[in-house]
Amino acid sequence: MRLRNRLMGAAVVVVASGLGLTGCGQSSDGGSGDTIELTIAQNSIAGGKNAAAADYITNWVIPKFEAAEKAKGKTVKVKFVPSGVDDEQYKTKLSLDLKSGKGADVFDLDGIWAGEFAEAGYLKPLSDVVGADADNWDGWAQIPQSVQGLATYNGRKYALPVGTDGRVLYFNKTLFQKAGLPADWQPKSWQEILDAGDKLKAAGVPVPIQINAGTAMGEATTMQGVLPLLAGAGGQLQQDGKWTGASQPLKDALGFYEKIYGGSGLGDPKLQQEAKGRDKSFQQFAGNEIGILLESDYLWRGVLNPETGVAKMADRDQSVGYALIPAEEPGKGINGQDFVSMSGGALRAVNPNSAHPKEAFELAAFTLSPDGLKEETKNGNVRITPRTDVNKEILSAEPLLTYISDKVVPLTAFRPPVAAYTQVSVALQEATAEVVSGKTPDQAAADYQAKLEGIVGGAGNVAS
């Protein structure tokens, strides 16, 4: 009796797993009948991260796109797949989905992942996946070359660019006033940032300066910390095909971290170690506890935004100031610049495994149509879109984004678009973590070089 029960149990398992497998097999051809089912995935979620983008997809794109396709005689159902997690986790989830031949038909990714995704076959050139429609898209004519470059790998376009961004120093004008600092503050060297930090500290500001550091903040440490500092000291990650090791600019950048976190009290070393440190830095800035914060325009439109931000600041427009990131000393930045910044941008890609690549591309293009972008950016959700025609109309009403588009974008720099970058980025984050926890900049730079040699294939590819 018992034996029979067990056998029955085993049989049930076998049958069930068989059904499960066939079930999986069928789900990929996108439903039955004439209905075309599409999914679109982003790291955005209603009421949470990038809420405005999620609302835009759910409330505008999906109904309008379905109606537009209906007018063409196609029945299309679009489903939005939201996420609200750190970018690193989103990337892990995305690559696992794509690795198993699944994933949404249209998905967003950080531009810097394009190289490694393309190498892995998770992304294919748009014209291979979609056909001629991709090259003939009327939007390309409106997108500047530098932004198209974000979606280009080895000379071919792999996705549609969603926009670009820039990094500035934000400061809290209320705290600045308390410390006797000007409301139109613009530091011209790193020393002037530290001087302002000293005054803020003397005025009792809990965290005078926050420059992201450590591994818990992930890419935010690299983009809003090491790389702008490295550029300010005249350094580049990669030059003439060789990676830069423990160079003087890197040591200077790490030295700046040491000045902030090495016992001066200008920064909060523990915040750099916390699992949710970056989210806390947002809350503290919104709560008038941080004086100076290096962040991208995302802070302004996605975090402090009085309407849709994750750490809303009702008086954002009055009390948040912004300034260009200075070079270490005037003229010492890359290309002899006085001020520097870094830019990146998201991409919207068509899944090579999609059963309906043409419709998926139409959906992606639809989200980036002039009408769509204007809808997405209305009500204070302005961002720098990929299209110059749209930017001309929407940016003028938004002071920070005009500032970024006019002053920052011309002097900005991009990350090297190679597959090894993300591993190099982690090594840089680890170098800052070492400095925050008390190692000397020289030691951290030497450790970085050793890791770098392991990542990029030996000392021959590294110049020190």
Binding site: L3, R6, L7, A10, A11, V13, V14, E88, T92, S95, L96, K99, W113, G115, E116, F117, E119, A120, G121, Y122, G214, T215, A216, K270, Q273, E274, A275, K280, A419, A420, T422, Q423, V426, A433, S437
Partner: protein, 308 residues
């Protein structure tokens, strides 16, 4: 196996052999047919994945990049890298601390104390205590971790509010201690229940005799109770050591931080394989973890057997 244990004289007698080696009278083929589904399932879900992990460990397979599309064999490089990587040994040491602190000492001692104190009690007190302890055990990890983060958080944590302290950050200043206390609290229920059942098997007459002979509480525990529950203690140790060894929940509290101070092996594998994308190297580390698990299991099973 069965044949090898047969005495030689039985082998001579074909008829006797058939009866003793094939007690159910099914014959080789039919017996094989009966175990085949089980063997197939075990192969599919246990043996094959284990071999697959071994195979992956010999390659430079990655989550993204060129090595994701066309992984290449790298021989034993991953294993050499793991065994020479200070981060791996750091994680192994942290795991050892975690198992020793939270399982071998924390859960066993707390679980036994609870079972010992509650052994003769009845009524609502016992039921409330047991209910609360078991509640800590059965709540989903995600929920429990969130509660503990809310308790220990540096800025607005409950603990800081209760103590009226500023900036007391256990998860940052004493991360290992925090996850040890957490896991002790979380897992004590299993030991408590197991010891509770074991203590019920200690004959009251033995304890009575010991008391009459003037044995102190400690002596009773050592000379009467412990010999009776020795098997339970070892089984319990084996189970909770292995569970704790492979536990991923600390990640939900500290994410392996700060600066890798709580990056136990389970978290380390997640970090290198999924966050870092090095699936091949992660597979090699997993294989080493599997071997460590086997060593621990064999050690306990030996101890368990030696009681006879």
């Amino acid at each position: 196996m069965a044949q090898a244990t047969l005495p030689p004289e039985v082998l001579d007698d074909a008829k006797a052999r058939r009866y003793s080696a094939d007690a159910a009278g099914l014959g080789r083929l039919r017996a094989g047919a009966f175990v085949a589904p089980a063997l197939a399932l075990i192969s599919l879900f246990l043996v094959f994945p284990a071999l697959w992990v071994l195979y992956l460990g010999l390659s430079n397979y990655r989550l993204t990049g060129a090595a994701a599309a066309a992984p290449q064999s790298v021989g034993f490089d991953n294993f050499v890298k793991a065994l020479t990587d200070p981060e791996f040994w750091n994680s192994t040491w942290l795991t050892f601390e975690f198992v020793l602190g939270s399982a071998v000492i924390g859960q066993v001692v707390l679980g036994f104390l609870l079972a010992w104190i509650m052994r003769d009690r009845t009524g609502p007190l016992k039921r409330i205590v047991e209910g609360l302890v078991i509640l800590a055990w059965i709540l989903p990890s995600a929920v429990v971790s969130f509660l503990w983060v809310a308790l220990l958080d540096r800025d607005d944590g409950t603990l800081n509010t209760l103590l009226h302290s500023q900036d007391f950050a256990p998860l940052l200043d004493h991360p290992m201690l925090s996850i040890i206390v957490f896991n002790t609290w979380r897992g004590a229920a299993f030991s408590m229940m197991l010891y509770g059942a074991a203590l019920g098997n200690v004959p009251p007459s033995h304890l009575e005799s010991a008391r009459l002979a003037g044995a102190s509480g400690w002596q009773q525990l050592r000379d009467v109770v412990f010999p009776h529950i020795r098997g339970h203690v070892l089984t319990n140790l084996l189970l909770i050591s292995l569970w704790t060894f492979n536990d991923f929940t600390p990640f939900l509290l500290t994410a392996g931080g700060p600066d890798g101070k709580t990056e136990v092996l389970a978290v380390h594998v997640y970090q290198v394989a999924l966050q870092g994308g090095e699936l091949g190297y992660g597979a090699a580390v997993s294989t080493v973890i599997l071997l460590i698990n086997l060593v621990v299991a064999v050690f306990y099973l030996r101890l368990l057997r030696s009681k006879k």
